[in-house]
Amino acid sequence: MALHTAIVQARDAGEIPGIVETVPTMRSLMVTYDPMAISRAELQPQVDALVARGLPAGMKSRQVTVPCCYDDPEFAPDLEEVAERTKKTTDQVIADHLASSFKVYVLGFMPGLAYVAGLDPSLFLPRRSQPRVRVPRSSVAIAMDMTTIYPFESPGGWHLIGRTPLWMFDQRREQPVFLAPGDSLSFQRIDRKTYDRIAREVEAGSFDWSTLVKSK
């Protein structure tokens, strides 16, 4: 994240030509460059020099609550399989998901999709070997040591265990992307009736999102 910031600053200051964009993740930083403007052989030492120069640091964080309905089998098609593979009851899977202390590390895959680490280790599973062609919007899913919420209907390879009535991306909002890197996150269990009520408010644009966010 810090190197991402450093490269963006260097590019915007005109110090490095040809950088199209950078994508920070938990394991690496992707740098996309325009081969018409610079070559990899020219670019690599400049990035290395930025690392050597020392990186900018720090960002503030928030505590975010995400309501999630685990009860409807349509929302949680993988809940039973996750329970079987982790040798738990479905209620234990839900309880462990609720008890995990999550933190948003990276946004990516598509606008507003957060990679949220901190899943209870007893729920670790690899991704599905064949990703689903269609995962419904706002599905709550787990894979490896993480959980996520799909901002749009899309293909996806994670295990679907619930659904939130929230939209992770809404271009009508001033900040279209709800979650931010560094957020602490916890889920709150809701029933189907509460889900339907919040879903209507989110769709109408009348939902008060500020109730879900506390500054730390």
Binding site: H4, V20, E21, T22, V23, P24, T25, M26, R27, S28, L29, M30, T32, P35, M36, S39, R40, A41, V106, L107, G108, F109, M110, P111, G112, L113, Y115, P126, R127, S129, Q130, P131, V133, A143, M144, P151, F152, E153, S154, P155, G157, F169, Q171, V177
Partner: protein, 352 residues
């Protein structure tokens, strides 16, 4: 009356695209943009537009568009069956692809079918008068953003135009069809080629892969021999900690078949990427149809960079080599009637 092209019949998947929404991948925003950068660039150059102007990307079958503006210059690029122009009181007339055309109010442009490729482009001189979202007009339909209402075109849509009348000047056409190349698709290994066994890597560059039915603006799933991971899939051999996905990244999930990720690709992903398509060959992938077969061949980064620079130079030569378009016989009767009514005489420059 609003200056517009009105969709009287929608095609199958027509979206406005420019060269992409760059700079927001860190927020998870895909770049989208033209699947075939070359086709859009040529179409813009034929219409007299800067390369970054948004045009209509046509998928499989084009729309019928009614001209609701005094005049508009359009350019069509791609292997289209002849498009037709028809007016309220004129018989239909075929329009060639790979050139510009002047259209008048009340005429209907019936864009043809695409033959042997998946994409073609239609641009208008001056571009479309639509607000960019995050700096770009590219449509990303999965999120409903950009382009025209964030979606593919539908009957009844009126695409607002920046110009009320076409700029002056001759119609132009491509000197000869642009050569996209026909050999293997060039790739650069990695970033996770070490997640595959030596046999797996060999399979990938030696076998033939076919475009499956699951091919769209997000990417292409290929069918063919299974690529072996270095570590068994049930021991995490097809899982990485998610990282960034560049244009043309080739993921191989546990099932062992390659997925090439294109314009509407996700920004990060957790399947290992055996290789990345060299940018020189991305436009070819953007034109592939289900059932078509490809081979992949590895090149070094320096070679990939050089191939792209050479292609860009060829593209600029193709644009510099546009010729003035005149119909067979030398005299364009439509132009004669429409533009030369003052003295009734027109000289055909090309036959001087």
């Amino acid at each position: 009356m609003t200056a517009a092209l009105k969709v009287v019949r929608a095609g199958l998947f027509d979206t406005l695209q420019d060269l992409g929404r760059m700079g927001f991948m860190a927020l998870g925003m895909p770049t989208a943009g033209a699947m075939d950068r070359i086709g859009l660039t040529l179409a813009n150059a034929l219409a007299g537009n800067p390369a970054s102007t948004a045009g209509l990307e046509i998928g499989v079958m084009g729309p019928d568009l009614l001209v609701e503006v005094d005049s508009v210059r359009v350019a069509l690029v791609g292997p289209l069956s002849p498009s037709l122009i028809e007016g309220p009181d004129a018989p239909p007339k075929p329009l060639e692809s790979d050139r510009s055309h002047l259209l008048k109010r009340g005429q209907i442009l019936r864009v043809g079918m695409i033959e042997g490729a998946s994409t073609a482009y239609l641009t208008v001189a001056g571009g479309f008068a639509l607000p960019p979202f995050m700096g770009s007009l590219s449509t990303y339909s999965r999120a409903g953003i950009g382009g025209f209402e964030g979606r593919k075109l539908a009957a009844g849509d009126a695409l607002p135009l920046a110009r009320e009348t076409a700029p002056g000047g001759d119609e132009r056409k491509l000197g000869q069809a642009f050569d996209y190349g026909s050999g293997p698709i060039r790739i650069v290994w990695g970033p996770q080629e070490d997640y595959f066994s030596e046999a797996g890597r060999r399979t990938f560059v030696e076998a033939e892969y076919r475009v499956s039915k699951e091919a769209d603006r997000m990417g292409i799933r290929f069918e063919g021999p299974v690529i072996e991971h270095a570590v068994a899939v049930d021991k995490g051999g097809a899982d990485i900690i998610s990282d960034g996905i560049g244009p043309g990244a080739i993921q191989v999930p546990g099932a062992g078949l390659p997925i090439v990720l294109l314009a509407d690709r996700q920004t990060v992903g957790g399947y290992p990427k055996i290789a990345t398509v060299a940018s020189v060959d991305l436009p070819r992938l953007g034109r592939l149809l289900p059932g078509q077969a490809v081979h992949f061949a590895a090149v070094a980064v320096e070679e990939a960079e050089k191939l792209r620079r050479d292609q860009e130079a060829r593209l600029q030569r193709a644009i510099a080599g546009f010729v003035v378009a005149r119909p067979a016989g030398g005299i364009d009767l439509v132009k004669l009637y429409e533009e030369n009514l003052i003295d009734g005489v027109v000289y055909d420059r090309l036959s001087d």
